[in-house]
Symmetry: C2
Subunit: 203 residues, 2 copies
DNA sequence: GTCTATAGCTCGATAGAC
DNA sequence: GTCTATCGAGCTATAGAC
């Protein structure tokens, strides 16, 4: 493969990084093309060489946010299963992968979480399938507990999945990457969803 | 007390209800005074008789969202303690109160959750104290487990509080009040945070 | 590939009539 | 209490020079 065409993709990536950060901080309508262009080091009109519209920029930011996390968790789950790990250990690895990717790419993932609900219908549509795919990946992680002999119906799995993903995604709002320990957080969250708060502090 | 001055407060309330719904759906910058006014049945200029600025409207929406939930949980906790309930039962009642108020006033609470992170500094500041007060209320609920003999340090309490509140608040994004059962959801969430997913489905 | 210039629109806020 | 009218600013998108 060629090692060239660097300029166009470099600029594209820089624009997307800036856009993700600004969408996270100011919301969909609070971000203007002039502001994105300025921080990326070009003029507003020039953005239209790289993208066809503002909505194309936001669509790409949303999809990147989902894809990075999906790939990280999928790989962690596949590796854990290849090693013959228990359902419990696999879930612990999935939690670790989700939080690691989620907090590492926090501008993209936070932009996704924060602005998804306030997008125009047409833009939101293109991200719905990716979200649904990711939820199914998690359902498959939970359903392994049935294979391992636990008694869980589909409704319990869905509730637990919504509970855990909601809790993990909320960490974007308070986690401080300068101070925090992602691995430690993942261990605590996995313990909480599997065995609850009272499992540790025996009476 | 007088039973009059209805008109001014009626309009004010109608404007706030409309604003909350629109902020939830379109974000802080996506909502204009013309749109709020139109849905509330008046003209944009007239809003300035009731409020001094757009930021005063959004500030009031945010504070109402916190206050309604805080009061509901505070009352539930006080009553549970007055009845001499265990820490575990009190937490179950607190979860029920939080979810009930949260989902009943979902336009206000969702507006708060969704747009808080994308507000101008000056507006966000006025809501910070109310949020902090509410978090402390929950810490006091968790700390009762220590009184009841469980071994929990401050760090575990904080992690569990962030985990539970994150999970509960995320329910705004998927809960359907037409179909869903709030009491049932509260029972499942309380069970999950206290004893975990694997407590039910014994192997 | 990036620029300047601009069309057509909406924004928050204010002034003053009624 | 609510209205109309308007200011100055910012918005997305396009056209065309370089």
């Amino acid at each position: 493969m060629s090692t060239k065409e660097p300029k166009i993709n470099e600029t594209r990536k820089r624009v997307l990084d800036v856009a993700a950060r600004q969408f996270r901080a100011n919301g969909y309508s609070g971000v203007g093309l002039r502001g994105i262009a300025k921080e990326a080091g070009l003029k507003a009109g020039s953005l239209y060489y790289h993208f066809n519209s503002k909505d194309e920029i936001v669509t790409e930011v949303l999809n990147i946010g989902i894809r990075l996390v999906h790939e990280a968790v999928e790989e962690a789950v596949a590796q854990s299963r290849a090693e013959g790990s228990s359902a419990e250990l696999t879930l612990r690895e999935a939690v670790k992968a989700h939080l690691s990717a989620f907090l590492e790419w926090s501008d993209y993932t936070s932009a996704n979480i924060r602005i998804f609900g306030q997008l125009p219908e047409s833009v939101r549509m293109v991200n719905v399938q990716a979200r649904s795919d990711y939820e199914h990946l998690w359902d498959s992680v939970f359903e392994r507990f049935v294979t391992d002999g636990y008694v869980l119906d589909a409704k319990s799995v869905r509730t637990a999945r919504l509970f855990l993903l909601g809790a993990m995604n909320a960490s974007l709002e308070w986690f401080d990457p300068q101070q925090g320990n992602i691995e430690g957080l993942a261990d605590q969250y996995a313990q909480l969803i599997l065995h609850g708060l009272l499992s540790e502090g025996a009476k």
